[in-house]
Symmetry: C2
Subunit: 348 residues, 2 copies
Amino acid sequence: MNIPLNKIFRKLSPYVPGEQPSEKNFIKLNTNENPFPVPKEVINAIREQIDGSIRKYPDPEAYGLRKAIGKHYGFDPGWIFAGNGSDEILRLCITAFSSKDDYVAFLHPSYPLYEVLATISDRKPCRVNLKSDFNIPDDFMNIYNLYMKIIANPDSPSGCFHPVDQIRDIAKKLRRVLVIDEAYADFSKDNCLNLVKDFENVIVVRTFSKSFSLAGMRIGYCFGNPRLISALLKIKDSYNLNTISQVAGISAINHYDVMMENCRKIIRNRDYLKGELEKIGFYVFPSSANFILVKPLHIKAEDLYKVLKEKRILVRYFGTPLLKDYLRITIGSKKEIKVLMSAIKEII
Amino acid sequence: MNIPLNKIFRKLSPYVPGEQPSEKNFIKLNTNENPFPVPKEVINAIREQIDGSIRKYPDPEAYGLRKAIGKHYGFDPGWIFAGNGSDEILRLCITAFSSKDDYVAFLHPSYPLYEVLATISDRKPCRVNLKSDFNIPDDFMNIYNLYMKIIANPDSPSGCFHPVDQIRDIAKKLRRVLVIDEAYADFSKDNCLNLVKDFENVIVVRTFSKSFSLAGMRIGYCFGNPRLISALLKIKDSYNLNTISQVAGISAINHYDVMMENCRKIIRNRDYLKGELEKIGFYVFPSSANFILVKPLHIKAEDLYKVLKEKRILVRYFGTPLLKDYLRITIGSKKEIKVLMSAIKEII
């Protein structure tokens, strides 16, 4: 029997997440996880919550978590949505803020998931190439204003921070919703959160996976005008965020200071790694995130990726036409960076 | 600014999950949660897993969980998919096994989410009314064979078990995928799991929310031909199932005997509650699930629902044209049933 699958499978190239090796003895600098542990207090809060209450369904609207996030950032819970990782939120934004066969515009190279999600949702992906320095080209700002737009800021894999004024200009001209994916905002000096109050077509998406060291718990959240938030609430899976992740998020936001201290360490390590790589002649793009995009010297990026993997150090190699000369390296602990640097020096 | 939302919002009536009161002093017989606690061993296994590992992303394909489920039920992991509750799996099945503008056929009244998911996914819902005894009508079996079909078995809210031979007949005639939602299968004497091996167009969906007392952890799974499973893997959110839920599922399946013992108690309580309600003249449909659908005597279903709620007992009232005379009551513990029965006797 020839089972008819969705026609999208004819054209879909699924997003491939970074490797998660099952063996433990890898230095993982490939998926932008935080090298610093979850605060003890958060671990304890989660452990305490593992009790009889998991027998019952979670709060479908994650009100306690939205309230805790809102309190910290100065927003009413009606301005906040929480989801099963920011990936779920990005998918729901596409469903809520565009209709089938609409175009969805995004930059390239950026987070490849945007194109996958648009395709899966029967939208038409509109891919606009970044300039060679990974900045936003003028045509993305000035045209496609009837398409929903998604921008990562800081962007990945470049680490580039697109200036707030530039994003503000895009929001102003756009007749549809602008989704700003701020997964890496806590590693940057600036962010676009205030635009949410100024423009009723702006959504800012954040996550606990990077700066809060909670990638395993899948907790994303976003800010936006209550009209946009209520649309997301209407189309999400009924109980999209499990009980324990809600508790973990509340506890993490209550230990915001620990997270920020870790972010400051990562920024210091980022500067250090950039310096070390530049010393041996690598080109390193300026980064506002917890990773750097680098162009190796005297060795093909793909070869360096492979030899590092043999030495049980994982970095990210994309291998697409625009990125084949680059590696993206997550900022690890000082110790991990030192192991990485001596491995690279041995190889090249 | 008039933000354009997805056109589906013009016709969408979102699914309304059962109430989850924030106060604790309710007897909750409205969302088919299990009255029996999660086994101590499972609680401990989850607590132990709350450690540094939640800093990292989960296994994107939940291989360990799929292996544990497969080992128990006699399937290779390639025949199994795991998701963020069975609601996610149902949504993914619609995306994977039908294309935009296709019809999706399901029975009515049944789980109202099927229609919502079809609408959100830009499919055309094809609602086929059950017979007045909540059995499947002949036209559902014999026509619509070019539409993907979804059937809950045991069905909700009736509790009715549709005979395996009848479902087999549907699968045989169907030229598309048949999704059998077996959320309540562990409370029934029979199930359709074997059909997965006989027909390459059959998916059987299960959940840890009901029989395993883990509604708060959001763990669903399904069985199907590897071609179908691989389609689901391609379109899911990258890390759809968090680290802790994967661990909880593995531990729960390893304590299958505790779960089955609880199910047997629920079945005994179901017979007891049915008997008690029949004694006072209520009509109770025969149920193969952990709830019963009842038609009260001498009082409107809606009024009984309201007065019970005032007495802090929640049951489910749907209020739709075909269900306005009925209440769905989750089978609680013996103690909860006794409180419910004396409340009902006071009211009527």
